[in-house]
Every structure is written in C-alpha cells, then in structure tokens.
Symmetry: C2
Subunit: 314 residues, 2 copies
C-alpha cells in the first residue's frame, strides 16, 4: 500500500516502480487500484515518420505545457526490434534535460515482443501517468504504422508531424495516419518544399468530410529553433477547449473505451486461443485433413467458432 | 459450374472472374469448391521497403521461373490508401509486358479498407491461383510492416529485398521483416554501400539461432540490368528442394495452416463481436461505469469473455 501512496503523491521512483510492475504484468490488481484515480489527464499523441523531428518537437513544446505549474508525463514509444536497440539514443539523450525538471516524467517503451503488445502496454502506462497526477500525458511514437493508429486511439489530441522531403506525406497517407490527425505539423518548415507540402495537405484534408466540426489546422514549425512552437501549444490547448466546450470529449472518450475493450477482448481471445479454447488434438486432426485438401481452413474456423460460443448464431 | 471448369483449365478471364468473386465475398462456397485443387503450387513472397526494386526483380525473375514450361501467377499487393492510389502505376505498367505471356497471370490487390482484410484476401487469392494450375505463385508486397509478415505466413520461400541507401536495413529489422526471410537480396548492388550492407546483414543473421538447418543466403542483384537474377532463381529453387528433401515443407505448411486458422478465428470473432456476441445495452452501461472510473476496461473484458465462452476457465 505504501508504494501506491507514494505513487499517488507523484513520487518519481514510485511511479517508475508502478510502471515496471504494470509492464511486466506481475501485479494484475495494480491497474484496478490505480484506475479510480485516472480521468484527469489530457492525452496528447505526437506521431509521424522517422526523422520528422518529433523528439525535438516534444522537447520544444513541453516547456509551454508546463506553464501555470502543470505537470507533464512523456511516453516515448520505440517499436524497435532487439536488433537495432539504441538507434535512437541521441534523441533520448537530448530529452534528458527535460527529465531533470521535477514536473516532468519520461518513460521509454521498447518492444520486447509483438508490436500489438507494445501499443496495449503503452495505453496502460498512460493511465498510470494519469493516476500519478500529470496534467498532460504526451505519447510520442516513432514510425508510421498500425501501432501509431492504435495509440492515437487513446489520445484526446493527435498531432501528426511531417517534413517536406522524402515522400513522408504519401507514406503517412498510405498508412492512414492522416485520418487520425487532429492537428497537422509540417516540421523543418524552413526547408524548400514546406509550403508545397502544406498546400498538398490542405487539399487532401478538403477531400475528407469527417470531423466536420473541427477544421484540422496545418501548422509550420522549425522545432530545433523553437519556431511555431507557441502556436502549436496554443492550438493543442484550443483543441482541448473545443472538445470540452462541445461535450465531444465525453463522447470521444467513451468511444475510445469501447475500442479499448474490444481490443482487450481480442487480445484475451488470442492469448487463450491455444491454451484453453481449442482442443489441440482435434485441431491437429483437422489440419491434417486440410493439408490433404479435404476441408478448408475456413471450414475449420467455422467449426471451432461454433463450439466456442454459447450463442449459436455466430 | 461452367465457370469453374474453365477456371480449372487455366482460362484467364475465368480466373479473373473467380478472383473477383472471392475478393467481393459474393460466393462463399466458391473457395470450398476450389480448395481440393490446391496444394500443388509453390508460394514465393517478395517483400521489402518501397523503392527497393521489387517489381524490377519480379520482372527479371519470372522468365527464369517460366523455364521448362512452368506457369507463374503473380499477386502484387499495394497497401495504398484511396488518397494516393495510382502512385505505383509505373511499376504496374512495366509488369504488363509479362502479362502478355500466356503462362503468366497478374493480379493487383489494393486495399479498400483494413490492411488486415487485404492480407487475408491475398491469401485466398493465392489459393485461387494455386487451384488454377500455376506452378509458382509469386506474391509481391510493397512496404515493410505487419502486412508483409502476414503474407510471409503463407509463402514457402520469402525473399526480402533491401537496397544500400536510406536505412532500409534498420527499418526492415525494426519491422521484424528479416525474421521471416529465407533469402535476402541486396538489390541495386552496384551502388556504394552494397557490400557494407551485405556484411551488416551477415552479422545480423549470425546472431540468430532459428532456422538453423537453412543458412540464409545473402545475394547481390542489379535487377534492371538482370545481374544476379540467375543465381536468385536457382537459390529459390534450391530452397524449394531443401524443404522437399528434408520433409520440412509438410511441417511448415501444416504450421502455416494452423496460423491461418487462428487468424480466421480472430477475424471471425472480430467481425461478430459487435453484431452478435456483446450485448450492446449491457456494454454501454459498463462503459459509462468505466468512464466514471468505477470499473476498468480490463474488468469489462473479463466479464464479456467469461460470458462468451462455454468453458469457464478462460
């Protein structure tokens, strides 16, 4: 209990220990104890392709968020395989200056197994920081892919960062990442091509008809020179106010809880599929039959799913 | 029935129509009718980052695979969002020369919705080409991500293509794509950095201890100049012989069938989660409670999963 009390007071070593316990899954009840203390933090996602300058942007924006004695928790997600661990060390070292601030807590998350697992753990760690009393929880993800979409799912405001060169925009569009953007940032905005990229993005967003009440702002920054950062911070705060004023924040957060529950159900089923649900001997027999082309994988699926559920209409 | 007969004779328009039907899911029994005719084709996956020259490689290797009167079916998977459709038109146009060959069939697959759905459909289309009598089914995927890993799951031989520049290797490692490689190709091998990349890859593979009986070959090609292609084709054939000789092909294909069934089960559960399984009214009530921080999403999950299954031990 003592750990939890220190944790709720915002004691950094206690926060770190709670995170490690949640990460390792060693104390299944811990999240339940913490959960009643959540719901106060505002979740901000910062995502974009590698090299877009997300870490610089985080370094620049955090001081703005800290104004008025606010506290900021940062989760840096590196979906890095064991092979290339440490590739992003430089970014992390730069961030260490922030870590010395008593109102800032930084946690790096690296994958040890599945990417899906990483995104799911990250969401729980975000809740931990919420409970620990941080006003803003900032989640920075490296890369453009499913994991970023997954994490956007828990963020109130998702900032997508692009840079002029290297076809990032196309990659981001392909990955569907623009579709989760609440704010779009063209970083390294002093480079040639920045204005053209902004125009392209404006055009792309005009084609969308969702989120009609919130016109997605497209901002230009030069993070390492602190240009455009003030505007970005105020735009994030403006989006927060918009969500709160319109009541959308409650609707959005409930929708996100539904998505999270669905995801946890899928995870749980996936984990238990082998251990409990499927009769392995029977499965082996059916696979042998499928190998001999007597029954299809789809047929096996139907048979298993039929047995799996109480309700027969599936 | 007439369509199926023409299809089994390898009639191209019939093949195209069967594929469209499978893609659209308009004829659920069709795959079952086709499945008994599968199991004869050898599945080759070609994957790697955008710009690695995969299409050029496919263009170059297909004539080698066609030797001895063999037939080759090609599936080109573009996980492209509607935004940027047509970005890869150039590659497809080049491939059209191949399409004129009567022993070649090419199908482009583009995403219309979820990436997961695309990978799953691609696997069914591969079975269609198998049943249509193609000796080799070649699946080319653009990008480095989950979808490539998913598709590797049905391939007997997976060829991963990298190029010297642009940190592809690190990206590929991050995405775990090297872990599914049976053969590694460094394309654009005449560029500076090619030899260094090969050395790096050799080192990286030495760290692995899986697939110990098959030492992953690292080949150098210049696809547009047809360099190294003969060697690549013979290495693919050598891998095929290795799998057949050692009996690994049966074990591998059965393992892959298990993975496919698991995946189909997950898909089915996902699809039906909302429609049938979860009591929406009850879910709404629980979400409201979670929003008020009275119960956790994990608790809701446990409640739903418990009710979902006949077996209570989950």
């Amino acid at each position: 209990m003592e750990l939890l009390q220190r944790f709720l007071k915002g004691d950094k070593p206690a926060i770190a220990r709670v995170i490690t316990k949640i990460e390792n899954g060693t104390d299944p009840k811990l999240l339940e104890e913490i959960f009643p203390h959540t719901g106060n933090a505002y979740f901000i996602g910062i995502t974009g392709p590698p090299g877009a300058g997300k870490s610089s942007l985080v370094n620049a924006i955090v001081p703005k968020l800290l104004e008025n004695n606010k506290k900021v928790g940062i989760i840096a997600v590196d979906p890095t395989s064991p092979f290339s661990g440490g590739a992003l060390l430089g970014d992390r070292i730069r961030m260490n200056d922030l870590a010395l601030n008593e109102n800032v807590f930084i946690r790096s998350m690296a994958t040890r197994g599945s990417l899906g697992g990483l995104a799911s753990k990250t969401k729980d760690i975000a809740l931990v920081l919420d409970a620990a009393g941080f006003d803003y929880v900032l989640i920075e993800t490296v890369g453009v892919g499913q994991i970023e979409l997954d994490i956007a799912q828990v963020c109130d405001t998702t900032v997508v960062v692009l840079v002029p060169e290297s076809g990032d925009a196309i990659q981001a569009m392909k990955a569907g990442i623009l579709e989760v953007a609440d704010i779009l940032v063209v970083n390294k905005g002093d480079r040639s091509g920045a204005d053209r990229l902004i125009l392209e993005m404006k055009f792309a967003f005009e084609l969308r008809d969702e989120k009609i009440n919130w016109q997605i702002p497209i901002l230009k920054t030069v993070a390492i020179e602190n240009q455009g950062i003030e505007k970005l911070a105020s735009t994030v705060k403006f989006h927060k106010e918009y969500l709160e004023r319109s009541g959308e924040i409650e609707i959005e957060r409930k929708n996100k809880l539904v998505l999270r529950v669905n995801e946890l159900i899928e995870e749980k089923i996936k984990t238990h599929l082998h251990n409990y649900i499927i009769d392995q001997k029977q499965l082996k027999k059916m696979i042998d039959k499928a190998y001999e082309r007597k029954i299809t994988p789809h047929y096996i699926t139907d048979e298993i799913v039929k047995k799996m559920f109480l309700k027969k209409e599936v």
